[in-house]
């Protein structure tokens, strides 16, 4: 596609529900990143994929967070048993390289509100 596509754009969940957020990166982009942006803050790193391999998941805040990219293209971020502190915008970004010259192209984000 022309850009990074994320869905849903908005999600309201009751505390304890599971949610799944989808990211469709730019076609052919090797690298895919998930970031969490809380209100009034900058994006914070969650996890990174190079093709289908999850090379870094050090930013995932707890074992309730899980991400996958099984075929090296579309990625899903899953949050189990959501808590109020999970409320944030979840940003997906992709990059054509897997090198130090990474330049991120961001999607519009998925805004999660946990009641």
């Amino acid at each position: 596609g022309a850009g990074v596509s994320q869905s849903p754009r908005y999600k309201v969940a009751k505390r304890g529900q599971d949610v799944a957020l989808r990211c469709d990166p730019i076609s052919g982009h090797v690298s895919l990143f998930w970031y969490q942006q809380a209100l009034g803050q900058g994006p914070e790193f969650l996890t990174y994929f190079q093709n289908e391999a999850q090379l870094d998941k050090s930013g995932l805040p707890s074992d309730r967070f899980f991400a996958e990219r099984p075929e090296g293209s579309v990625s899903t971020l899953k949050i189990q048993r959501t808590q109020q502190e999970d409320s944030a915008v979840y940003l997906c970004a992709s990059s054509s390289t897997g090198s130090g010259a990474n330049v991120l192209t961001f999607g519009a984000g998925s805004r999660l509100t946990v009641l």
Binding site: Q41, G42, S99, A101, V103
Partner: protein, 114 residues
């Protein structure tokens, strides 16, 4: 871990005023530096980047940034702002040795009055 500090959280300027937004980072080694911009209702997009070479980097829409290694700074400047520059600006850094991890500042909201 690296950290990025943006000192100005909210800046209000009149059109044609000059702009300088501060950005400092904590990492002592070689870094890649970025400014991203988020216009109202839009997604984050790259404004400019520095990898190596000339420390004065020119980006889109008349923006520039200067990398001063001794000060660990990468301040964003524009000589004359326009109303359309109203947006939130984020400074970011990553290391060529850990290029998958970008660290972002908390952002500066710029409001340009017409």
């Amino acid at each position: 871990a690296q950290s990025v500090s943006q000192h100005n959280h909210h800046v209000i300027l009149s059109e044609a005023a000059s702009l300088e937004l501060g950005c400092n980072y904590s990492y002592g080694g070689t870094v890649n530096l970025f400014w991203y911009v988020q216009y109202p209702g839009q997604h984050l997009q790259l404004l400019l980047k520095y990898f190596s070479g000339d420390p004065l980097v020119k980006g889109i829409k008349g923006f520039e940034a200067e990398f001063i290694k001794s000060k660990f700074s990468f301040n964003l400047r524009k000589p004359s702002v326009q109303w359309s520059d109203t947006a939130e600006y984020f400074c970011a850094v990553n290391s060529p040795y850990n290029f998958n991890k970008f660290y972002f500042g908390s952002g500066t909201k710029l409001n340009v009055k017409p």
